[in-house]
Symmetry: C2
Amino acid sequence: MPLELATIEHELRESPIRKIAALLAESKAHKDIISFGGGAPSLPPPHAVVDEIISSLKKDPFKSMSYTATKGNLSLREEICTDLKKYEKLSIYPVQICLTTGATGAIDLALESIINPGDEIILADPTYAGFPGPGIKERAKLKFIPTKWQENFEIKTELIENLISKKTKALILLSPDNPTGRVLSKETVRAVANFAEDHNFWLITDETYKDIIYEGKHWPAYTFAPENTLSVFTYSKSCSAPAFRLGYIYGPQKAIEAIAKLSQYVNLCPSNISQIGAEAFYKVKKQYLQKTVLPTYRKRMEVMGKMLKKHLPDAGFVKPHGAFYYFVDFSLYLRDLKLNEEKFSEKLLKEKHVVVIPGRYFGQSGRRHCRLTFVSEKESRIKEGIQRIAEFVKRK
Amino acid sequence: MPLELATIEHELRESPIRKIAALLAESKAHKDIISFGGGAPSLPPPHAVVDEIISSLKKDPFKSMSYTATKGNLSLREEICTDLKKYEKLSIYPVQICLTTGATGAIDLALESIINPGDEIILADPTYAGFPGPGIKERAKLKFIPTKWQENFEIKTELIENLISKKTKALILLSPDNPTGRVLSKETVRAVANFAEDHNFWLITDETYKDIIYEGKHWPAYTFAPENTLSVFTYSKSCSAPAFRLGYIYGPQKAIEAIAKLSQYVNLCPSNISQIGAEAFYKVKKQYLQKTVLPTYRKRMEVMGKMLKKHLPDAGFVKPHGAFYYFVDFSLYLRDLKLNEEKFSEKLLKEKHVVVIPGRYFGQSGRRHCRLTFVSEKESRIKEGIQRIAEFVKRK
């Protein structure tokens, strides 16, 4: 007889992110796949980062391979403080930073440090597929703010107000957003920060894409409500280094101490090799983003937008202001095809060898939409891919 | 007003492991410190491991830095299966392996996947300071099996029987043990495995030190009760690679699927760089352990044993059969000094510049004991350190 698992195991769904990975793995069986699927960066990390890791491993393999403090090396946390302070003249200290296993581990620790069973968490809908899981893990109740492309996926503050209750313990914001590309306005961030202060709940802000902005400006919530905000970051996208498995949380010192206490039992400490690489990143960060990352992704984003407009005129979408994705409403095409977007994605992959991600993986409001990543393929392949989708939807 | 944290934050103690780290950090202020403190390996990782990481980063930085599957790369999981199968002719498949953030992350995921609030976990006392925390995190009740050096720190099965209740969900075994150096006998492991099967609970076996054995043989519980066992491993000690932050769990496929589902929200995936290094380790593992690790540590272990016997004749201890530590009963000396072992450790550090770890950090039965690591210092320094302790205890 198989032994019993924890009850949360029955409530927790397989992460849609991994369904996506499975789709992509399957797609490799085909020869000429065009992937608008995953959210992995398509660039190598900066040379300086790789070189520093190699030189450190050669010079002192023992030290490079050692344990570090649970919060991470002080020298790296100092670099992080300098980077965060550039948005506003805030006082930010290394005791307010705890390194984590990417943004994934940061979200998990942030929620674990504040959520009691039965607490409520407010989320946007659609939202990153990695947010609901950690909430369920902590036995929280999830409440969603619906958004739509016709309103630029704007988070309407009056809708938030309706969801706030005495049990509200946290609200999660992601800007720039996955899957919608939305960059929150100063007004929205400030309004949400005010709610958090007035109703005494935590803001968890995921700033994974903070350096990947094409239009508008990043307004970090910590500049408005620093005592209520736990901000989450990662090196996976800006530094193109997912294998670092390195991110961090910035917040009030007392909360960071609580998070570090948890991290002792979850991570013990972050990888020293990754910390060595991350520290080297700050020397070249500005140049790498401005000369390599942003121009490359911006061109691809523009090409995809033009192609969508031209070849899929009945698709609904807005141009992303940041991050890696178009979130496209295929309702009119799906109605004609008599398919939901999940079946649509499957058939599109089988018949046209193009990978897109079904919108329902990102929430109820994602139905009849698909997420299309523009960072994985070169411009010519993006053109080809959208043309294939156009052929597919017009064929029937 | 500071915002509320989760209730578990108030129950969770700062890990004694980090108290140790703080002691060590403080100790660096002194010039001539001899450390019998931390449990970090004192050898660099094998050349072949470092070389493979460097060559992979040079050859294909993009691929080396990529995300991988949540469970880890198939090729590494195949190597792991081969390594585990050598103990018995078992069928072990890669679907039964999930890579984790070291043994720390493995213990945390294993418990999170099976424990409901109120479930009971049985542990040895003294035990590794990293075990109670994850139990408290899952809101479990902890029960302890006292052991003593006069009985070779043997885990008496009749004591386990008394602790088993309907709420028993897991029993944690660590062999070779930290802090006692105990290697469990075949009879004990089999008896505990039988209890788990008869009373329908999980065995969590931490095999961190499985390759570091000086006397006796390692008997993995999974050979006796494979359906009831989640076995936890790490590359931190055998491969001298703590900065990999890489370990793994082996268990029944259904449990591993559940663990991988959790890991999606805790780690997303293990570091590809670390996996590349770990895979290279299997090519040199046997030689590295037999030619470098075991001879180095065995010599230090023998020297410390002889010195303890000669210079601290009233200390109670048994020779460790594995791992990195002597767990020494200082009762007779402490009585004369009118100190508990925590104050003793503090004064010893201040006055003689020797670091030892207070036994209470490992549980109630650890009182009046100290843990002395023999892996951190060379033989001459071990001699010097024990002599300093002898001077300290005889002086008053």
